[in-house]
Symmetry: C2
Subunit: 296 residues, 2 copies
């Protein structure tokens, strides 16, 4: 199947699955649930859950096994977007071309909707572990739970350093540390969850982790580039915010051309990690290229 | 041992345990870790972890078994305090007689420190589950994990309704719903975690849950009363905020005397649930009275 079609297919599967987790009933906290739904269903790229499923599918076919983890990671991703957009952090008014959560609802609701989404990710994982009867599967999923929580910890730390470093001169090491924690940790988790659920060998897990870390870095570099030369209408958010906030990025550090060159190299390295899977890994290879070439 | 001394003893044990979870090392996100430590070690009453341990001790002596859950619940409690104090929610400047987290650090740090604490609670639980080798214990703890996540979900929902209802006329049912979710859900969780870890029978679990729900409600009613007639110096925060924000409370609903009468009744009912444990439950009975009589 052609890449774009396959990606759309994954996005549809994920959106259908997410629908099952929405809380539609009438209840006193209805507005909170509406705010959660507003952000969760705002039409993100679904890159993280797609990674979970696509890696799992390198080895197995029963994708229902990995769906709770695909859902949980998308919940965490949206929690982080809602909180990052808050007036106290990035103070962004638009996301995916729509008002940000606190603009659409209010600040209190946005803070609590983010909290709720992070916590709902853990409800999702807990329920999946408790549905399990087989001890091997339970211990495997308990390990994933720990890896999940630790990757989220890194993401939060990365976001904090990113915020703290605004307008400051920082070292190359520090720039890499931010990107590794803020974005790559979660993308790596996605790939590793898919692989661990599919019961791959240690060697395979290592290579897939390398792939993940590289596309994670590529993703962040591309974000930095888009923040300079992206199209506001396509991005759905203002361009130039990073520069306005004097954020340290790959572009501010290496220049636009330098950042693009690094992006090319990293993407090639990522694809190289998949060569033993041949045709089967076509989608994941195309995904690395998609991350590099995307315009939003 | 006399109650106050025993409570102090529990507080010391909990503070020593929490110290082990603090992140003291030099690292780029040091300020975030400092902010977490600032709130976590700000001298709270440690009521929630004390409940976990005291209930566990009704049946067993090896309290190390329940310590990770005592720690996790205190992390969640402090996450909720940090976020509730934010300018976007209650906008409080003082907590335990010290500046609130966003006043001491900044708003971005406070949002992320809260996020991190909630998430660290799950790291703590995950690590404990994965240290376990015995399948019965693993499944027991996985059940607790799910109950934990669902109680936190209720707490967040309760906080949201509380925020949304400010200045509005609400029904008795709605007032009870707020209190049940915002405070009682977590206190009930504490008691149930201690009991489940101690492997009590279903009948015992039911009675202890009743005890928990009643002290949970008593706790909230007392909070409402203190917000009217408490001593600012002892409370460490301004009195009258509820009235200023036109919050619906037991006092605004039933008057000061009415609220106090309900508090007496509920406390007696809570104590009644423990009668079969006799002397052994002395601390938990005194704790119910302490919740009723506390001045902060």
């Amino acid at each position: 199947m052609e890449f774009k079609k396959q990606l759309k297919n994954y996005q549809n599967i994920i959106n259908e699955e997410l629908e099952k987790y929405l809380r539609k009933q009438e209840c006193p906290e209805k507005q909170l649930n509406d705010a959660v739904e507003y952000s969760l269903m705002a039409g993100g790229k679904r890159l993280r859950p797609t990674l979970v499923i696509a890696v799992y599918k390198l080895f197995k076919t029963d994708i229902q096994t990995c769906m709770p983890y695909a859902v949980a990671i998308e919940m965490v991703h949206n929690f982080s977007l809602i909180h990052d957009d808050l007036p106290g952090i990035d103070n962004d008014d638009f996301r995916h071309g729509k008002p940000t959560n606190h603009k659409q609802f209010n600040e209190a609701t946005a803070i609590l909707a983010g909290d709720s989404l992070l916590n709902q990710a853990y409800i999702t994982i807990a329920e999946d572990i408790n549905r399990e009867k087989d001890i091997t599967n339970i211990t495997k999923k308990a390990k994933i739970f720990e890896e999940f929580a630790k990757a989220v910890d890194r993401m939060i730390a990365g976001e904090h350093i990113d915020t703290e470093c605004e307008g400051k001169q920082i070292s190359d090491d520090c720039l890499e540390y931010i990107h590794k924690n803020k974005t790559a940790a979660l993308l790596t988790l996605c790939v590793r969850m898919g692989a661990i659920l599919a019961e791959v060998t240690e060697v395979e897990l290592r290579k897939l982790t390398n792939y993940a870390e590289k596309i994670g870095l590529a993703f962040q570099i591309k974000d930095d580039i888009l923040s300079v030369e992206g199209n506001e209408k396509i991005l759905g958010k203002p361009v130039g915010n990073d520069a306005r906030l004097k954020k340290v990025t790959y572009v501010s550090k290496y220049g636009l051309e330098g950042a693009k060159r690094i992006l090319e190299e990293i993407t090639e390295e990522a694809i190289n990690e998949l060569k033993e899977y041949g045709e089967k890994a076509e989608f994941l290879k195309e995904l690395a290229i998609y991350i590099k070439n995307r315009n939003k």
